[in-house]
């Protein structure tokens, strides 16, 4: 089994999994505690427009997705903050319009788009070297921004109104947070694909939340969970010859459900013991 690790594609896949876990562990925690899961799903799907744009312009589709996703997340952030349109309505519109643009762009692009499927559902085994370097760069940007603005993001997520009163530039930070989500989506596209991104943004953070009430520890735990999920998902997909992105998601979801189940049981025994001791 271990000899497979000698292969370059497998080493790249593990590195991609690690880089993806770092981004989704950190930003996923904000997505979960600030409750911006739906808007993040919208940003992820809209990034398909950028993939299409990449094909049309003949550049790396992931780079196309990066610019397109940042612009669309700023757009959705401003629309929901500055207009009276309800947030979920705005997200629904952006979600579909981004994907529609992607399809039009790909239709206009000359030739055939052979690896389109891998952008939609990910293929961790075929991440090119350039994309690995891009993922590494984006991870560094994400870590630096969160380290610099840790308390600002914490306050924004916990109590936006009080933060505004205390002088935190909440609107700018909110837009920056959406940009971080956009960057994370770009990091994750190659690993699990546009359609499955939202699972890696939520599952590791939701799992970590059960074990700690410190945001920092939650991030570290979520990164660890992400590493375990991508590695074990990759392994299962290799052994059973399944699609890697989908396997990673299913392994993550399964672990989360088991963890929820164990937690429930623990609470029940705890309550049982408490009532037994007071009786």
């Amino acid at each position: 089994m271990l000899e497979v690790l000698q292969y370059q594609f497998m080493q790249n896949a593990l590195l991609a999994g690690l880089l993806a876990a770092v981004a989704c562990g950190i930003v996923g925690v904000y997505v979960v505690v600030k409750k911006v899961v739906f808007i993040s799903g919208g940003i992820a799907h809209a990034s398909f427009g950028g993939i299409g744009l990449g094909y049309l312009l003949g550049i790396n589709p992931v780079l196309g997705a990066m610019f397109f996703t940042i612009v669309s997340s700023l757009g959705i952030g401003l629309v929901t903050r500055r207009t009276r349109l309800p947030e979920d309505t705005a997200v629904g519109i952006l979600w579909a319009m981004g994907m529609a643009l992607g399809i039009i762009f790909i239709g206009l692009a000359p030739g055939y788009a052979p690896d389109l499927f891998s952008y939609l559902f990910g293929n961790i085994l075929t991440v090119p070297f350039f994309d690995l370097m891009l993922m590494l760069t984006l991870d560094v940007v994400i870590i630096a921004l969160v380290a610099l603005l840790y308390k600002e993001f914490l306050y924004l997520s916990f109590d936006e109104e009080f933060s505004t009163v205390s002088g935190v530039p909440t609107e700018g930070l909110y837009l920056l947070l959406l940009c971080l989500v956009a960057l994370t989506v770009v990091v994750l596209i190659r690993v699990v694909g546009i359609i499955l991104v939202i699972a890696l943004l939520t599952i590791p953070a939701a799992l970590a939340r059960q074990f700690t009430h410190s945001l920092k520890k939650m991030m570290l735990l979520a990164i660890l969970a992400g590493v375990v999920f991508t590695f074990s998902g990759l392994w299962v997909s290799y052994v059973l010859n399944l699609a890697s992105g989908a396997t990673i998601i299913l392994v993550s979801g399964l672990v989360l459900f088991i963890s929820f189940g164990i937690n429930r049981l623990r609470h029940r025994t705890h309550e049982y013991n408490r009532t037994a001791s007071t009786a």
């Binding site: 505690v33 409750k35 610099l148 603005l149 308390k151 600002e152 914490l154 306050y155 997520s157 916990f158 109590d159 109104e161 009080f162 933060s163 505004t164 009163v165 205390s166 002088g167 935190v168 530039p169 939340r209 700690t212 009430h213 410190s214 945001l215 939650m218």
Partner: protein, 252 residues
């Protein structure tokens, strides 16, 4: 020492969707005030506080906080919102919540210094919550959470404390304790609290104003049944629980 004017509202109007929420509000809050603002739900109480804090821009009229626009003056205000609205699973400790109040002394990219931590510890001592400083705030009881949010508002040494429905989510037996705490705090700062629960408010505050889109403000806490009727748009019976004679509201 003469009382200085902290907040001044002149002919303030606020509209939501062309429906007026606040109409021609004139209000002056001085440094020794302990003002209770009562009125029905939807009468604009929270909006009034948000206007003072600069969170809601009035459509017309002028607001000043210590002679400044509210965006600049609000750093002298401690604000306690309807705190039960926050996510009770949020991963944040009591001490971190209180440190939020020090943000305007620190600022973007800055780390908290020793004096910020000392101020937070002192504020937690004032509200007798120091033992809980490492606990997750959402897991405390309603009354304990409220003390934490008061500590967060006190940590900047504000000149004015604004409280929005402070008793809404605490047990009735905790309310007396809460008002005792306010009684202690009012020596050092002006306090404005809004509530729809007029009986509790009336015992402790010095003055009462009634707000239902318009503000009826008399500079005393004796509110006539007639004025209350104007505020609530229906007949109201005044109930006073106080036993000390001067705390009982006037007979009607």
């Amino acid at each position: 020492m003469t009382a200085k004017e902290l907040v001044k509202l002149e002919n303030v109007w606020v509209y939501h969707d062309s429906i007026p929420v606040l109409e021609a509000i004139n209000l002056s809050i001085k440094s020794n005030d302990f003002l209770g603002i009562i009125g029905p739900n939807g009468g604009g109480k929270t909006t009034l506080l948000k206007v003072i804090l600069g969170l809601v821009k009035p459509s017309r009229g002028k607001v000043s906080v210590l002679g400044m626009p509210p965006e600049r003056g609000r750093k002298y205000i401690g604000y306690i919102s309807q705190f039960n609205l926050f996510d009770h699973d949020f991963p944040i400790s009591v001490l971190d919540v209180v440190l939020m109040g020090r943000y305007n002394k620190s600022g973007l990219f800055q780390r908290y210094r020793e004096e910020d931590r000392k101020a937070a510890i002192a504020a937690l001592k004032t509200v007798e919550m120091l033992d809980y400083k490492d606990r997750q705030v959402g897991k405390l009881s309603g009354g304990e959470q409220q003390r934490v949010f008061i500590a967060r508002a006190l940590v900047t040494n504000p000149e004015l404390l604004l409280l929005d429905e402070p008793t809404a989510s605490i047990d009735p037996n905790m309310q007396a304790e809460f008002y005792e705490l306010l009684d202690k705090l009012k020596e050092n700062m002006a306090i404005v609290l809004v509530s729809h629960d007029l009986s509790a408010v009336s015992i402790y505050v010095n003055e009462i104003a009634c707000l239902n889109h318009q503000l009826f403000y008399h500079g005393s806490k004796e509110v006539s049944a007639e004025e209350l009727e104007k505020t609530y748009r229906c007949p109201i019976q005044l109930i006073a629980h106080g036993t000390v004679p001067h705390r009982v509201l006037r007979e009607h």
